[in-house]
Symmetry: C2
Subunit: 317 residues, 2 copies
Amino acid sequence: MEFALIDRIRRRAAARGDVVLGIGDDAALLRPAAGCELVATCDTLNAGVHFPSETVPFDLGWKTLAVSLSDLAAMGAEPAWCLLSLSLPQPDAAWLDAFLDGLLELAVDHGIALVGGDTTHGPLSIALTALGQVPAGAALRRDGACVGDDIWVTGVPGEAAQALAQWRSGVPVDATLRARLDRPTPRVAAGLALRGLATACIDVSDGLSADLGHVLRASGVGATLALEALPCSAALALLGRDERRALQAGGGDDYELCFTAPPARRADVLSRLAACTTPVSRIGVVVAGDAPRWVDAEGRTWCPPRAGWQHFLESPA
Amino acid sequence: MEFALIDRIRRRAAARGDVVLGIGDDAALLRPAAGCELVATCDTLNAGVHFPSETVPFDLGWKTLAVSLSDLAAMGAEPAWCLLSLSLPQPDAAWLDAFLDGLLELAVDHGIALVGGDTTHGPLSIALTALGQVPAGAALRRDGACVGDDIWVTGVPGEAAQALAQWRSGVPVDATLRARLDRPTPRVAAGLALRGLATACIDVSDGLSADLGHVLRASGVGATLALEALPCSAALALLGRDERRALQAGGGDDYELCFTAPPARRADVLSRLAACTTPVSRIGVVVAGDAPRWVDAEGRTWCPPRAGWQHFLESPA
């Protein structure tokens, strides 16, 4: 099983000039860029936990890479290489091809080369390690937010959670929302544009409020957030006020970036993100304290129904 | 679950001077050594497939890292950093602590720092990515074996397979053999010692004959191997001739190195591997051709009962 599948993967893996040796030896040989730091992240997706079991393999391949690219984006890193560990219940070449279609379409978009990994037997589980590069000292981190900084978020948080809520309740999932859940857009270009501009950055895969909380704890500050400033979408506008707030502040699986930047750089934020066609909204301000506080248009505090996103969609196999 | 377990891991992960940012941001930030290539490998271990389900967590942690260190060793790389993706059926802190005991004991031995990864819910599955470094151009590869080169193997191949054979047949597994299966010794020092000396190298995790076959195909050569030259051990000596040969040439899960080197460097091979206390045996010679040929003391050809090691110990969960 392993060798035939690995050959299928090897034949389709694109090259990069800095890949000395890709798939096919004991390990890959890669040439790091001079003056750069290496950025490394690893994520696992398990059937029935991180995605509904019926997710089509193309989308699963896409999402597998998107999740890790989003982590690179949050560091301001340029994607370079990735390794794939794939556990499959049976050696299914058609499934693998469709999975690679999705993964490699996104890989080509971002110039990241698949350079290694393994395929093996087991319950469906996918672990991907992504490696990127960033000029030394230029990475975006969680610990640099300062009192007075603006707080920004890309895109429209809450739509992936809305798709999941529909799926859980058994109603047909809106196609646009489903695409947000299954084929998230990693904000790589935005991460690169924010180098030297954002004081802190994180991706909001665990939910906006919870992930911003990580930034605040790492930076030793608090935040005041305006519920009215959260960007809406046609689908979210159909929800009741409290449901929409809960999904936008508390829902997960949105691969948007939340970042802080000095108010003096507001115009730079808007112009740089416009240049990479990334929608962005200013949703709050960093204050003294240690947690996010959400307020409505009348200044009343609102608490998200729970802090942070929990996976575990279904009982695991 | 995730955050509490990640905190447990973070508290225990040792530092290295070249880790700018370890566990706790969207990704790790690492400082590659100047003039070096990066060596990257990724392996998955699944319960019931790559290890008997009753394997104790200490041994599993050890083996998880050993498998990937062995790949770095086969490239002549110096271990630097690793990322761990851990899927657990339930958040079991005691299990995790024992697993980390094993993994980190070996990590400390080899100066490799755990810098990231994730823990999540799912059937027990462990994916580890190891990153190492090697001076540019100095990596050991599979494709450099030349006609006339000696063929060498470290240690005593076959003992892990013997342990597995005992386990499968239901007899009590000899403790020494069990340790070879569960706590393999990655030949990192040997790999470093072979830089500039070996013309090709591979680790024999899939079985000596099959893995040597990969070297021969990549190098476009064949090999003649002397069955009588295979090193024996007390446990292997108890077996019948054919059974011993089958385990030594065809059995897997031995994390030894098989490498080629010019006969003119025989004394260097012996002295350098003696200096790092790695046993080594000269078992054959590279010839024109495209496959390994095993011969006995009388010059008769012997064929291993099957080419290559197959995992899948038990039915997967």
